[in-house]
Symmetry: C2
DNA sequence: TCTTGATTTGACCATCTGGTCAAACTCACG
DNA sequence: CGTGAGTTTGACCAGATGGTCAAATCAAGA
């Protein structure tokens, strides 16, 4: 394993290649379905070489998840209490939809983990995520109190946004099977925009 | 393997026990994450004994999925062109939500399969499911043409219903992590009802 | 160039896993 | 009962898989 110094050029390149490969493999097959050999092959390394950079399969997975959590939660972080309520929420939804389109692997990585009970990120959910959501729910509630948006259950509002936007990435095969050749995201944006505009208009 | 006659008392009991156990294990760990030993143990059988009733792990999985597909699609089947549009749709949504609550294992079984690209039910999606959805979309479109419900993209409407209702089962850990002690389904029903009533009111 | 730490790998290992098989056991029925 | 079909299991196997290790190779600074 590399020493505890500044990472060399090679270390940087290989660790990045491994994480990139791991994202592909884990998001497509889940933790258990992914094999170290597969990740190594995709990263262009031999298995022992891969294990020279990460101590175990689990370590790669953990680093991937924790490294991506910030990215994943950034849009919600950006929800600004001082902005225009309706525009803030619709912008959040649009960013989430865009992430589903542009980062489907990341979405499926989390989806895989969650649907199997989140054995490896349960803590992050109950702490970081809950804290962030609770905070933003306060904002939403305040907006409702001020009559800026319609009063709905704020937590379920949040869940619905996640469900709707991530559905396109997580269940992409199903969406594609039904839409055929058509671009899955064609029309999604106006649809969710209308949906939440109608829901939240006081 | 049992002969091709009428199933004996023991065959009925054991096959049922195996499928029940398999539903638990597959829905919790996905196909690859599940082991035959685990299923056998949960069914109260030895592994060779389990494999006396089913030729392989894959066969159990296949039978589970195809056996549950009808159950899973029944609510959509029931959407009645001759009923009251708004009530029909809201009833469909409510039934889906109820299934998410009462049959979370089934929901996660399909979710697991879908998020990993549906390698084993791709055909059913492109045929049975697509056909059913296309048919119901025709109904929805007709209702929109008649001005009975607001005009929205009918396929995205369908996706949104699935996403929203199944979210509670598929990502139950996340919902629980955020809501804490509170019952995840508390308030979900009125929320989705309001959501779709507002969206679809012309 | 030489040296030393960084990097890479072939060979190997223990364990897990899906599946097989022959032998043993059980049950229903004549 | 006795018997043959139905049921169960211990022992076993081959391949996959996560991980180890010593030896070989490489890279960069003195």
């Amino acid at each position: 394993m590399p020493k505890d110094r500044a990472p060399t050029r090679i270390q940087k390149k290989n660790r990045a290649a491994i994480l990139e490969a791991a994202l592909n493999v884990f998001s497509a097959h889940g933790f258990r379905g992914a094999t170290v050999d597969q990740i190594a092959a995709e990263a262009g390394l031999s298995k022992p070489n891969l294990l020279y950079y990460f101590p175990s399969k689990e370590a790669i997975h953990t680093e991937l998840l924790s490294g991506l959590l910030d990215t994943w939660l950034a849009p919600l972080h950006d929800l600004d209490e001082d902005g225009d309520p309706m525009e803030e929420i619709l912008a959040y939804i649009q960013r989430k939809l865009q992430m589903s389109q542009e980062l489907p692997r990341e979405s499926r990585l989390f989806a895989n983990e969650l649907v199997q009970g989140a054995p490896r990120i349960h803590e992050a959910l109950s702490n970081d995520l809950k804290e962030l959501v609770d905070d933003k729910v306060t904002t939403l509630t305040r907006w409702m109190d001020q009559g800026k948006i319609a009063r709905v259950h704020p937590y379920h509002l949040m869940f619905s946004i996640w469900a709707l936007t991530q559905h396109y990435a997580d269940f992409e095969v199903q969406v594609r099977a039904i839409l055929g050749e058509e671009d899955p995201f064609e029309g999604a944006d106006p649809f969710v925009d209308t949906l939440y505009r109608k829901l939240l208009t006081p």
